[in-house]
């Protein structure tokens, strides 16, 4: 029987929306026990955001929330009032890892400074995910996903129009917010691995700006090292790539290596050009001529045709796939990338398992995202020893 890599690891999530929840989802999907704290009544921010089935907003049916919170136990708790604080600290005692996303200083205000949490649980690892980190002049700056993305430089690096009248762009969806959750998860697990050897927890300060900049670090460091400003560079001139319209959409070719160019000429079926471009000097000087040939050729082809013809010859090629095509594509299906998750309110949903297939400890999506407060009884009564009557009183008092 396949085991779970993080079986027995206890995670407390005091975070909302995308980055923090995605970070702890990654751990939950590998077998960690994650207790997610949500605000009584309102719940996680993501519950208010779609996509909703049939475009009917419902706190239990947000596609975003359901994706980011699989395999977690959900409780409601208001740690801002006395009884809530006391319970929060009991949960801290229970946890190996705390993942939180309060603005810098927010945890201190609640009496949850890392130093004091460490006193009650010296083994605790706390991962704080904030827009600009816990120190530095911008630490108190407000920053949503849009802002931290543009603070990381990627806006000028996406291959958009060189027309300076147009605004710099962010990557689509919640890409960078999710990537921050993934990045923070490495540091969190690193600390857990080290703790195994030493028994000692630590605090991890994860600035989203830093984590997003890290993705573009090769481009960013060109400026101080070579004086070159990488900004609004068209895709073709950057590294031997073309993103071209064809009869049914866009196709993307990469030809950084000579063998790729030769492969493309072969696919085009034009031996005359092949000979001409075999010469290194000619090729380097006439790259635009080459790009024109490719564009002409691609214009009349379909994406599937071009994709398969070029890939057969070893040319790195990609179809610009729509969301529909990602879901209906043979390759991930053959790899059993998606699983169906059955949610009591939202019904059946397809979710990805994970991009990494661990042979001994595969990722398993066994439980849908929790309903708001679904596991209050399990956590408060069975684990912390409160009675059902206590729950009634705590609910009336706005604690849970």
């Amino acid at each position: 029987m396949a085991g779970k890599a993080l079986e027995g690891v206890r995670v407390l999530e005091y975070a909302s929306f995308v980055s923090g929840p995605y970070c702890s989802k990654l751990l939950a999907d590998l077998g960690a026990e994650v207790i997610k704290i949500e605000k009584p009544e309102a719940g996680d921010e993501a519950r208010k955001r779609g996509p909703f089935p049939g475009d009917i907003p419902h706190p239990e049916k947000s596609g975003l929330f359901l994706y980011l919170n699989t395999n977690k136990l959900g409780i409601t708790l208001n740690p801002e009032i006395s009884t809530g604080k006391k319970i929060f600290l009991e949960l801290v005692k229970w946890a190996d890892i705390l993942i939180e996303d309060k603005p810098p200083g927010g945890m201190e205000e609640l009496g949850f400074a890392y130093e004091s949490l460490k006193e009650i649980n010296p083994r605790l690892i706390t991962t704080s995910i904030t827009p600009f980190g816990e120190f530095g002049p911008y630490r108190d700056y407000k920053g949503y996903h849009l802002n931290v993305v543009h603070a990381s430089g990627s806006g000028y690096l996406l291959p958009t129009s060189t027309n300076l009248e147009r605004e710099p762009l962010k990557a689509g969806g919640h890409f960078d917010d999710c990537s921050c959750g993934l990045s923070a998860a490495i540091a969190t697990l690193g600390a857990l691995y080290w703790r195994g050897a030493t028994g000692s927890g630590q605090h991890i300060d994860c600035s989203k700006q830093d984590m997003i900049m890290d993705l573009d670090k090769v481009m960013l460091t060109i400026y101080p090292n070579m004086g070159a400003v990488s900004s609004r560079v068209p895709i073709s001139s950057v590294m031997g790539m073309s993103n071209l319209p064809c009869t049914d959409g866009y196709i993307m070719f990469a030809y950084m290596m000579k063998s790729h160019l030769m492969g493309l000429f072969d696919a085009m079926g034009n031996p005359e050009y092949l000979e001409k471009f075999r010469d290194d000097d000619y090729r380097d000087e006439h790259i635009q001529e080459f790009q024109q040939y490719v564009a002409e050729w691609a214009k009349d082809g379909t994406r599937e045709e071009l994709y398969n013809e070029a890939q057969k010859r070893g040319v790195p090629t990609g179809i610009v796939r729509s969301t529909e095509e990602v879901l209906n594509w043979e390759q991930p299906k053959a790899r059993e990338f998606f699983v169906e998750v059955n949610h009591p309110e939202a019904g059946r949903l397809e979710c990805p398992t994970a991009a990494y297939r661990l042979s001994e400890t595969p990722v398993a999506i066994e439980h849908p995202a929790p309903l708001l407060g679904e596991h209050n009884e399990e956590v408060y009564c069975e684990r912390l020893g409160y009675t059902r009557q206590d729950l009634v009183k705590m609910k009336a008092a706005g604690v849970i």
Binding site: L30, G50, P51, P53, G63, Y67, Y114, G136, P137, Y138, Y141, K142, N147, H150, S154, G155, L157, P159, L164, L169, K170, G172, G173, F175, C178, L182, I186, L189, A191, W194, D210, D214, D216, K217, V218, M219, L220, Y223, P224, N225, G227, V238, M239, M241, N243, P245, A254, M257, P316, T317, G318, L327, Q331, A334, A346, C351, A355, R357, L358, S359
Partner: protein, 410 residues
């Protein structure tokens, strides 16, 4: 000083370009000893990519494997050895290195290392608890397993390119390596997971990673809209579904912009106050989030009229003081003069023996007890042949010399 989290872990990298190298670089940031295996017949191709620099940079092909700035950025903290893996003796030596290692990282096309005799099964025979990660464009199974790709291609196949770009423009496949590095991040995450499992059970494992699936996982909520509603989402610039303003606005200066995102009425009132309560901001059509989104085009035009008369730093300062999420769009230059990044130590310098002093980006996580850090420049080609073959494998200088003459260590 208490060391780094992966101290004592040794990884062998058969990597190229960005994904494999960043995977093991992340492990090396955390203190793992990473041995990069290359041959002059087939070095990491990034060693050959350089730039002319200057105002109109062009990619150039280098002739010296030790001069690439990009290679340095992706291979910090590592060691380099030379082995021509087309020779059986070299394969045996690679296995000997694996025998004293914990992790293998490779991002060749599926099947390449198997044919060389360095498959997971082959390594497991000499090192039963090895953790072996293979990363490829589509993963090592399925009908497209042999297809190749680079970062923008993962982005395109995974569903990101289609949803990135102007609403009226073509898809914008992400260049610059960001979609590679995010895959390397997912790889490193799965490797540390496997290390934790090995600590508990003594068992190693094989990890098969698909780069295009990493991308799909990061945009799944958008894909889910099709799953739930049959709706195919596409490009919409910087816009949000619900909130406005939510975009970049031009400021005074050349190609200077500020991102402004307002998510509730309180922030809207703070915004209006900060820009001096102009009459238009009091108009009915901007008074709640629904109306602002509905009249977004006009709202954007009016906001731009205000931002264009200020520098991006002025706008950021005025709006942040009022509690509005406004941050200027950082350009290449801004990173190196920005006081916040300076104080956080986002960048540091290394002394590269061939290229000279280089600025590199520090690891992005600040761990209080065991900092992830940069301790050395990327290795020169074959720089650690003596250490690895001599000290680690206990071979004599004569043996090493003979293998070099035979072009095994080559």
């Amino acid at each position: 000083m208490t060391g780094r989290v992966l101290e004592g872990i040794r990884a062998v990298e058969f990597g190229q370009f960005y994904v494999g190298p960043y995977t093991s670089e992340a492990l090396a940031y955390f203190g793992a000893e990473v041995i990069k295996v290359e041959s002059i017949r087939r070095p990491d191709p990034t060693r050959w990519f350089g730039s002319t620099g200057g105002p109109d940079p062009k990619i150039i092909i280098l002739t010296d494997p030790n001069k690439s700035v990009g290679f340095n950025e992706l291979n910090l903290n590592k060691l380099s050895v030379n082995l021509d893996l087309t020779k059986p003796k070299a394969v045996e030596l690679a296995k000997k290195i694996a025998e004293v290692s914990d992790v293998i990282v490779e991002n060749n096309r599926p099947g390449v290392l198997d044919r060389l005799g360095l498959s997971y099964e082959a390594i497991r025979e000499v090192k039963p608890d090895i953790i072996y990660l293979s990363a490829s464009c589509r993963g090592s199974t399925g009908p497209e397993r042999n297809y190749a790709g680079f970062a923008p291609i993962f982005g395109s196949l995974g569903g990101l390119s289609e949803i990135t770009g102007y609403a009226d423009g073509p898809p914008a496949p992400p260049i610059g390596g960001r979609t590679d590095i995010v895959c390397g991040t997912a790889n490193a995450f799965s490797i540390i997971t496997a290390l934790i499992h090995r600590e508990m059970t003594g068992k190693g494992q094989y990890i098969d990673n698909s780069d295009s699936e990493v991308i799909s996982c990061l945009v799944w909520d958008t894909i889910m809209d099709y799953n739930l509603n049959g709706r195919i989402q596409t490009r919409r610039g910087n816009k949000d579904d619900i909130f406005a303003p939510h975009d970049c606005y031009r400021c005074k200066g050349e190609d200077d912009w500020i991102s402004i995102a307002i998510s509730n009425d309180e922030e809207w009132r703070a915004f209006a106050g900060a820009i001096g309560n102009p009459d238009w901001a009091k108009e009915e059509r901007f008074q709640d989030a629904y109306l602002r989104k509905k009249n977004e085009e006009e709202l954007d035009r009016l906001i731009s009229q205000w931002t264009i008369s200020h520098t991006k730093y002025e706008v950021m300062d005025i709006l942040q003081k009022a509690g509005v999420a406004a941050v200027h769009s950082f350009s290449s230059k801004d990173f190196f003069s920005d006081p916040h990044l300076k104080e956080r130590g986002a960048f540091t310098e290394v002394e590269h023996p061939v290229i000279g002093r280089l600025t590199v980006m520090n690891p992005p996580w600040k761990l209080s007890a065991t900092p992830a850090e940069i301790v050395r420049h990327a290795p020169l080609f074959g720089e650690h042949n003596n250490y690895v073959f001599g000290e680690l494998l206990g071979m004599s200088q004569e043996e090493i010399k003979a293998l070099m003459d035979e072009q095994v260590i080559y």
